[in-house]
Amino acid sequence: MPTGRLAVWWLIASEIVIFGGVLGSYIMHRLGHPEWANQSVHTNTWAGAFNTFVLLTSSLSAVLAHNAASRGDGKRAAKLLWATIGGGAVFLVVKSFEWTNEIQHGYTITSNTFWSFYYTAAGLHGLHVIAGMIVMMFVAADAAKNKELQRVENAGLYWHFVDLVWIFLFPLLYIAK
């Protein structure tokens, strides 16, 4: 296995522990605190569902970029990576509107423990989205010149993991009312 890909798998393994700790703690507290249901009704399911659609679509463009790179088509891979970055940007814009609305309504990170978990888990995930976008900008710049095409898959693996985390955050924070 190429060293770069092995390193990404190690990174993903460590991320499982980080997000697993947050989500595991959230699930335990959620089950032990029925009053959180009174807070979770205020999260915006449609915004969460739209963002799930955006991330799933950006995962598609990431895997298509990998496919293009496998064929040696760096230019197409770069275009698809930019589409993935665009998906990340849309995700963050939706999130910022959502958070602004919630904060304006008095639901802040210190309101109670439900909101603390909400902002911590979604915020940590948002930071990973930003990190993935920055990495992909560098990878796309090289891929456009047909250089370092193996990195397209590595960046894609990381992006799919970020998508995976959101797949679990969505029902936990937005659907379980």
Binding site: I16, N38, V41, W46, Q104, T110
Partner: protein, 153 residues
């Protein structure tokens, strides 16, 4: 140092991915994406029925199916070296171990010789205060008056 596993394919050669397996064409991935979107719609509609079992299956059961589809088809875990899967499973097992170890203290607020007075008080106050949600149990609307958040614990 680069280890370029994606050298351009020779003209006429069978396209392959970095794992040395025949690559899927783009249509295959678009099909998987379509299935993921259908599952997303089901996971949003299912809980609207308000039946607990249906909510659990459609929201959380489908999340597991979606995660499996992404891992298998987008991350190609099936054709990756076996130890990668073992590594990931080990990390998930560590998470389960943590939850199993801490869970009894967090989920229950009473034991044989202890009582979590603060947690019980928070639950009681939180249930009494409510969340200021509307009769539809829905999300807040623009211009709606801020609700009084339940006290922190």
């Amino acid at each position: 140092m680069s280890d370029n596993a994606h050298a351009p394919a020779a003209p006429g050669a069978e396209p392959s991915n970095a794992h040395g397996h025949a690559a899927h064409d783009d249509k295959f991935y678009i099909r998987i994406w379509g299935i993921l979107l259908v599952l997303l719609v089901v996971s949003v509609i299912g809980p609207e029925l308000g039946i607990r079992v249906v909510t659990l299956i459609t929201a959380f059961g489908i999340a597991i199916v979606k995660a499996y589809l992404v891992l298998k088809n987008f991350m190609h875990i099936g054709v990756e070296k076996k130890y990668v899967a073992y590594l990931l499973i080990t990390m998930v097992a560590l998470m389960v171990l943590m939850v199993g170890g801490v869970g009894p203290d967090v989920l229950r607020h009473d034991g044989h010789r202890w009582s979590n007075v603060a947690a019980k008080k928070t639950v009681e106050e939180g249930l009494k205060a409510g969340g200021g949600h509307d009769a539809h149990g829905g999300e807040h609307k623009a211009g709606e008056k801020p609700a009084e958040p339940a006290p922190a614990h």
